[in-house]
Symmetry: C2
Subunit: 382 residues, 2 copies
């Protein structure tokens, strides 16, 4: 074999012919637009929707999702990192871009050059941004993040008190936005939510000219008091359920199908997959599907998740492999799926929120871990 | 804010200045070469090493890893999907490329055009590949995969018996390689391993002119009988431990560092992160780090994993967020890390195998889920 002569390969097309694709991710940009509208109605005309497009728009594709949100009227966008901010600036030259994860002082000059604003999470961040304003000879817009109980990012209570006492700390800056972030708004009643709201309100009233922003997706549905001037929906825009205690008010955005490579019959007593964790107690019919943890189908789904054939759940048996997963078809009566057929991973019968439960996680992690090997099909917003 | 005039942005450099990077993934290509050498010595000069580069070389980067393996002498490569095969053909015009996940019949003509071989997993696959040979007017090289107990892909026992009885089934094909795959070789003694070896040997002797391949990374270390002509190490090449019962004979390939965005002091009774799952029973000092489940730092690490500051473990407290994780620094005596400092996620104090335990998974999933937001630094093989 190693002596076989290999010719220089023929020119290679950009990708395989799509009929040979093994995983197909369909993203409905129309549903993203519709979700924007649902949320707009929920908050009313006085409140704007920011576009939260960090983590490649929760795995959906920032280059596709951000223009849809801009098209529906969003002007303020949030990303997590300096690099994401530059990527977004290329996509949306006219958007207002805020970076939750700072990157000061190193990113300051690039932020100024590209009209990007770091979210200022401390008095130190504020001082660094004032340095930038001084260097650039401009009054820079400033976004101040108050920590009201998340204890992750933002000004502490004592820093907030110092800032209120000494307005000189923001001299040279134009405080355009004051914000905080809910920790527990996904629970219908959590005492921390109201307490965060109260702390935020007390602080925010010291910045009468600034816009105020508190609510994430869930916060939007908890109380209209939480809306202020700007809400920051992420997961709800991408179709996850912001009100887990009841049915999902959002439109589903993502569908994922994976292809059967092979079916096989097993005898009673045979095992399947790595470590032979699953042993069949009666004869079985299984399908091996081109989907694995390298595609973001979490290994924790092993023995727990279901894929769907024409609406019928087919349980995952044995461990999830890197590129493959096996499902049990033994209960299917007629219309058995064949190699080449597609099984539903996400779609009308299984939402990302539902699949997440199999892996003991949340829909956010399902979306953000969607793999790179799928063919991505974007359905345009109408 | 929404009326603020935004200028058309200045031209945007390709990426943020590297000092503002928040996550840094360092990949040691020299360690990949060294691992190839370790495995070559283990199998001896009569046995070749295939390059297993599916799933973007286990998350490492196929475009970087595959040429290193080719440079150390590997000529036969395995990928999972038709799309990966075309990608690899662009990277290595002279490699022999096999596709584990088929894609027949749709991919057949592209395979033939680019001298790529599908691994034939059934008599049906064999028939489809013979069709391809007939269409192209060539005798095509064929790789036959026998299922010896994994029950995932490959010819079943009855199909194997039919093939042996009727050599006409491979007429028009040149069977160059016969292979199977271990299910439990990561366990030092598992009865299935020896039974798979025996089934494979019985089958393989019917193809005296074909090369034989059975062992994956762990199989290489279990018994020299398992080596045959070609071994297919994946995880060991990328630095994971193929012998979990003892110390790792491989060189570490991956290092990952994440940056502290902010530190904060918490009072007794305060909570941290989403759902306020962690409540401090005494005053604490924490660091918020730019690393989240969107970066492949699994949400299951919440409350369990550790990051390292100068070799000292700092436990993750509370939930892992999409872009952030919080660690407890309260136990650090002196030389406290500051915002901008790097914490070790993977490196000398924590291997991918070790981090995997925190999330109740395996090192493979840690590697294949490494996120897209890291700056990737490749150290060249010397």
């Amino acid at each position: 074999m190693f002596l076989r002569q290999i010719q220089t390969a023929a020119p290679i097309d950009k990708s395989i012919n799509s009929a040979a694709v093994l995983g197909r991710l369909t993203i409905d940009l129309g549903a993203i637009a519709a979700n924007h509208d649902v949320l707009s109605r929920q908050v009313g005309p006085e409140c704007k929707l920011a576009g939260v497009v960090k983590a490649n728009s929760y795995g959906i594709g920032m280059d596709k999702a951000a223009p849809v949100l801009f098209g529906r009227g969003s002007r303020r966008f949030f990303v997590a990192t300096p690099e994401e901010a530059l990527t977004l600036r290329r996509i949306l030259p006219l958007a207002e871009i805020a970076v939750l994860g700072g990157g000061l002082p190193e990113a300051a000059d690039e932020y100024i050059a590209h009209q990007i604003e770091p979210v200022l999470n401390s008095l130190h961040d504020i001082a660094l941004w004032r340095d930038g304003a001084r260097r650039s000879g401009k009054i820079l817009p400033a976004i101040i993040h108050l920590d009201t109980g998340m204890n992750r990012l933002g000004l502490s209570e004592s820093e907030a008190a110092m800032l209120i006492q000494d307005p000189a700390l923001v001299r040279g800056l134009d405080v355009i936005l004051v914000m905080s972030h809910f920790a527990c708004a996904d629970e219908k009643y959590h005492p921390l939510t109201q307490s965060q709201y109260e702390r935020f309100s007390l602080f925010a009233r010291h910045f009468p000219r600034a816009q105020k922003s508190l609510a994430n997706s869930s916060g939007i549905f908890r109380h209209s008091d939480y809306h202020f001037d700007l809400v920051r929906p992420g997961m709800a825009i991408y179709g996850l359920n912001p009100t887990p205690e009841t049915s999902n008010p959002m439109h589903p955005v993502v569908a994922l199908d994976a292809r059967i490579l092979q079916t096989r019959t097993l005898k009673k007593g045979e095992s399947i997959g790595y470590s032979a964790t699953h042993i069949f107690t009666s004869p079985a019919l299984t399908a091996t599907v081109a989907l694995g943890y390298a595609d973001g189908f979490h290994r924790a789904n092993g023995g727990k998740a279901r894929l769907y054939w024409r609406g019928i759940p087919c349980p995952v048996v044995g461990r999830v492999s890197m590129d493959l997963v096996t499902v049990d078809l033994s209960h299917l009566k007629d219309s058995l799926p064949q190699p080449g057929d597609w099984l539903e991973v996400l779609g009308p019968h299984q939402s990302a929120d539902q699949l997440a439960k199999s892996a003991d996680t949340i829909g956010y992690e399902v979306l953000t871990n969607l793999g790179a090997r799928y063919q991505r099909i974007y359905r345009d917003a109408v």
